[in-house]
């Protein structure tokens, strides 16, 4: 029995089905990331787990206990929100201790718990300030601290890094990963950013239009996507999809990641002209316009000098290419 079990969970708003039957088990101590484009229902699913929305049908169980009828505060969960959602009228200390106070914990115990969490996140000097006096990064650390204080069975993160700038996002991402190792707690994390998903997750759940497309470890999804959606969503830059017929193959679509295409000025499988080059230092992205396959992205490691409008030839790595049928489903070799 896992820390969280969803059985046939659906959610409809009026006639619109937002979640169309999700079955999922999250193991104790696992870091599970829900990822998908906006509007795929990942936040709604998280809110159903938290008890902020009722499931239309299906069962939500936390540590083997059915919690469909249990109030959010009694589900032994803590949640970190995208907009931090700190109480504006309370100090950092009171913000962090409020849940315990509501639960009737003794004052001395609350102080001890808050201090312990504050130590973990280096919030000590901020404890007597109000949210208005904190920067965005500090506010999100307080929000995470507020979650830790409760010692929940389940941490829920709702796009916690979306409002932070790029540098702070990386720092907070590392912080969250460290906390997960330190606390060993079960965490569910919602994001639309596949990099966050890849770097944090033990297991990724890819959602689209209210349905689970694939569940697996980050590298499993990268190396073994079940369909074109997962293949295109995981990995950056996005996978190239080629018309297999034009290459003389039997499948409908051929998926090749930008890093699995070789580029040459002299000869290769597909000819095209360079339409744009992005030099990132460690890697160079070359966008090649081909008459037969449209715009293809090639990722080269190191620095390369390709000029716009130059002719270039691409060679695909057949061993790393994925075959898909007309419906977008993966065709496995020999199967």
């Amino acid at each position: 029995m896992g820390a969280l079990t969803l059985r046939g969970v659906t959610k409809s708003f009026g006639t619109v089905d937002v979640i169309k039957g999700v079955d999922l088990t999250v193991q104790e101590g696992e870091f599970c990331v829900f990822v998908g484009p906006s509007g795929c229902g990942k936040s709604t699913l998280l809110r159903i787990i938290a008890g902020l929305e009722d499931a239309t049908a299906g069962e939500v169980a936390i540590n083997g206990r059915r919690v469909n009828e249990v109030a959010p505060a009694r589900r032994e969960i803590a949640m970190v929100f995208q907009s931090y959602a700190l109480y504006p009228h309370l100090t950092v200390r009171d913000n962090m201790g409020l849940a315990l106070k509501q639960a009737g914990v003794a004052r001395a115990d609350i102080t001890a718990s808050v201090d312990r969490a504050a130590d973990m996140l280096a919030l000590g000097p901020l404890l007597d300030r109000r949210p208005a006096e904190l920067s965005g990064g500090q506010r999100q650390r307080v929000a995470i601290g507020r979650a830790i204080v409760r010692r929940p069975r389940l941490f829920l993160f709702d796009e916690p890094l979306s409002n932070l700038d790029a540098a702070l996002r990386v720092a907070t991402r590392i912080e969250i990963a460290r906390l997960h190792r330190q606390l060993g707690a079960t965490m569910i994390y919602v994001t639309h950013d596949q990099i966050e998903a890849m770097t944090l997750a033990d297991r990724i759940v890819v959602l689209r239009a209210g349905k689970v497309e694939q569940v697996g470890a980050p590298m499993e999804l990268y190396n073994n996507p079940a369909n074109t959606f997962v293949a295109g969503f995981i990995g950056s830059p996005q996978m190239n999809f080629l018309k297999a017929g034009a290459l003389g193959l039997r499948s409908d679509t051929l998926g090749v990641r930008p890093e699995h295409i070789a580029l040459s000025r002299d000869s290769g499988q597909i000819a095209g002209t360079v339409s744009h080059v992005e030099k990132l230092g460690g890697e160079t992205l070359v966008y090649v316009n081909t008459p037969a396959q449209g715009l293809l992205t090639v990722r080269l490691f190191g620095e390369h000098d390709y000029a716009v409008d130059e002719t270039a030839f691409l060679t695909l790595d057949p061993a790393r290419a994925f075959h898909f049928d007309a419906g977008g489903l993966r065709i496995r070799e020999g199967g």
């Binding site: 938290a50 505060a73 949640m79 929100f81 959602a85 109480y87 504006p88 006096e133």
Partner: protein, 279 residues
Amino acid sequence: MAQARISAGQSIAAHAVLITYTLIALFPVFVILINSFKSRKAIFAEPLALPTRDTFDLIGYTTVLKQGDFFGYFQNSMIVTVASLFFVLIFGAMAAFALSEYRFRGNLLTGLYLALGIMIPIRLGTVAILELMVASGLVNTLMALILVYTAQGLPLAVFILSEFMKQVSDDLKNAGRVDGLSEYTIFFRLVLPLVRPAMATVAVFTMIPIWNDLWFPLILAPAESVKTITLGSQVFIGQFVTNWNAVLAALSLAILPVLVLYLIFSRQLIRGITAGAVK
């Protein structure tokens, strides 16, 4: 930075327009105030002159304070206004919270029904209201006025407050739910402080018509013991003779309490603790 955005000329023009409007708006009040301190003859001789040593006269104020229970009227007006305001704000805010926060069947219809009250004047129902008050024995009580004014103020309050409550971050309310706060605590401790500027706006818009109303006090509560200040002042306006000194003095005095209430609410309008709550 201000200089960079607005040139001196624009600034002067804007101020000129605003100052002119302020003068026009305040002029009647100014005329009432200066004339309330003048003798009857001086009022008619030179209505726009300031009271001088010769024309200064407190006769209006002494008449007002001697005749009738003026402080009683004041008290009645205060009770009616403050109580109505309290009920309008509390029920209006609660209804607005329910309409903006909870999804339920008939939500939109209920909101429209409540908004209908903005468009249909409550005075159309005066006869029915009077019959209702007679039947329930509330004629000549302050309670009658409080109930009517609460009904009168609710539509606008619900309409304005529900718009503002929709803007309060869902995350904040949900954080409260996860932390075990009751819906009432979320409403009173998290949401209300954040919509305080809107509450102040509603309070001002609700308060002024109630304080100034003559219609319902005249019909529902004309008895001496429950007269409001506007009704009480009518004593001095006769069909043939009007005691202008007393009328002007009564009006000047009647400005004071609303002014105090307004100052209290406008301070709330300015104060913003919302900053930093979310994002």
